[in-house]
């Protein structure tokens, strides 16, 4: 039974230290905790960061996709649906730019979650990906029931909005964010997937993250 102690002071010091000597490092998003534990009778402080919760989805090839798929990889995640005509087409245009930038880089993957799993079947996502002419082991388009499952993951793990809203033109409200996730499953950047210059920044940050 480990004893968790949150030490705001240590947390602040850590942040200051980060700022001073690691200017080139990308920020780590979300709540963090400093957890004290005993190693050989000595007190050691560990910082526990927010990470993406365990998930299971099916991709456009019918393959099961979990956190293991992205183990020790950097990936970019977003939330969309194929019948969306508002921001998704712009997001896909921009994600295609990211794809073209990283397609030969074995360290980086892409993960697009459908938030309309009832309409976006595996077959439909397969066709969509094929029509974008992208490789499925590089860019996973995933779907999973029920839709609340993906909404919940979006909100709690990726800090991205995704929910049903019948008042919206296509029945959903969702953010156009691209999330940059590091090798430990931590969020290291949030970008507006509808803005070309913000996506330029994402492509630079992927390279920065690879150098860490």
């Amino acid at each position: 039974m480990g004893k968790k102690i949150i030490i705001p002071g240590a947390f602040l010091l850590l942040l200051v230290g980060f700022g001073a000597c690691e200017q080139d490092r990308l920020p780590i998003f979300g709540q963090r905790q400093v957890v004290a534990r005993e190693v050989n009778g000595k007190q050691v402080n560990d910082t526990v960061y927010h990470t993406i919760a365990p998930f299971t989805f099916t991709d456009q090839d019918g393959k099961t996709i979990t956190n293991e798929t992205f183990k020790k990889k950097i990936y970019v995640a977003d939330f969309f649906f194929t019948s969306c005509r508002t921001i998704c087409p712009i997001m896909k245009t921009q994600m295609l730019r990211v794809y073209q930038d990283i397609q030969n880089d074995p360290e980086v993957l892409l993960l697009s979650h459908s938030i309309d799993p009832e309409y976006d079947t595996v077959q439909l996502l397969h066709d969509f990906a094929a029509r974008l002419d992208v490789k499925s082991d590089k860019w996973h388009f995933v779907t999973g029931q029920p839709k609340e499952y993906v909404f919940d993951l979006a909100q709690k793990s990726y800090f991205a909005t995704a929910m049903e809203d019948k008042a919206e033109p296509d029945g959903f409200i969702h953010s156009g964010a691209f999330l940059l996730i590091d090798r430990q499953g931590r969020i290291r950047g949030k970008y507006d997937g509808t803005k070309e210059d913000d996506v330029d920044r994402l492509m630079k940050d992927i390279k920065r993250l690879e150098r860490e």
Binding site: T82, R85, P89, K92, F128, R131, L132, D133
Partner: protein, 150 residues
């Protein structure tokens, strides 16, 4: 005296050539103020309703959203293109030899004038130079497709 004659002769030639220019009915109207207004308004409307999918440069996206910049479909289906802006399109279409299946939602709130403006913009951008699609022409086409769609 000779100078005066030759000057007026020159004027005459100039007038003839000017007249020739403006009466050349084979060339589309791309110089009038009306045309310019249609193109400017059409571009605004295009960026509001169309460019998310078809892109600002009309290139489309992969085999998901068809291109407009070079499009045999647009050239061969002028009436249908005007109708689908308003009423959408569900059936698959072939553009430049490639099949596109993504349904296109229509924008039923578009007025005949707005459709004329968008049509003028897309039919005079990129590879197209059809000339103005004025509101009377758009109304005639839209009226015909309404009866098909209802």
């Amino acid at each position: 005296m000779i100078k005066v004659i030759s000057f007026s002769g020159l004027c005459f030639v100039l007038l003839i050539s000017l007249f020739n220019c403006s009466s050349n009915s084979g060339k589309p109207d791309t110089t009038s103020i009306k045309f310019t207004q249609y193109v400017v308004r059409g571009e605004e409307l295009y960026q509001k309703h169309c460019s998310n999918c078809h892109q600002k440069n009309g290139s489309g996206l992969g085999l998901v959203y068809p291109p407009l910049n070079t499009s045999d479909y647009m050239n061969q289906n002028f009436e249908k293109v005007l109708c689908l802006m308003k009423y959408g399109l569900k059936e698959p279409i072939t553009v430049n030899g490639k099949s596109f299946v993504q349904p296109m939602p229509g924008v039923v709130t578009l007025t005949d004038l707005e459709i004329a403006e968008i049509a003028t913009y897309i039919y005079n951008s990129w590879d197209h130079n059809r000339g103005i699609v004025d509101v009377a022409e758009a109304s005639r086409v839209i009226k015909a497709c309404t009866s098909v769609n209802q």
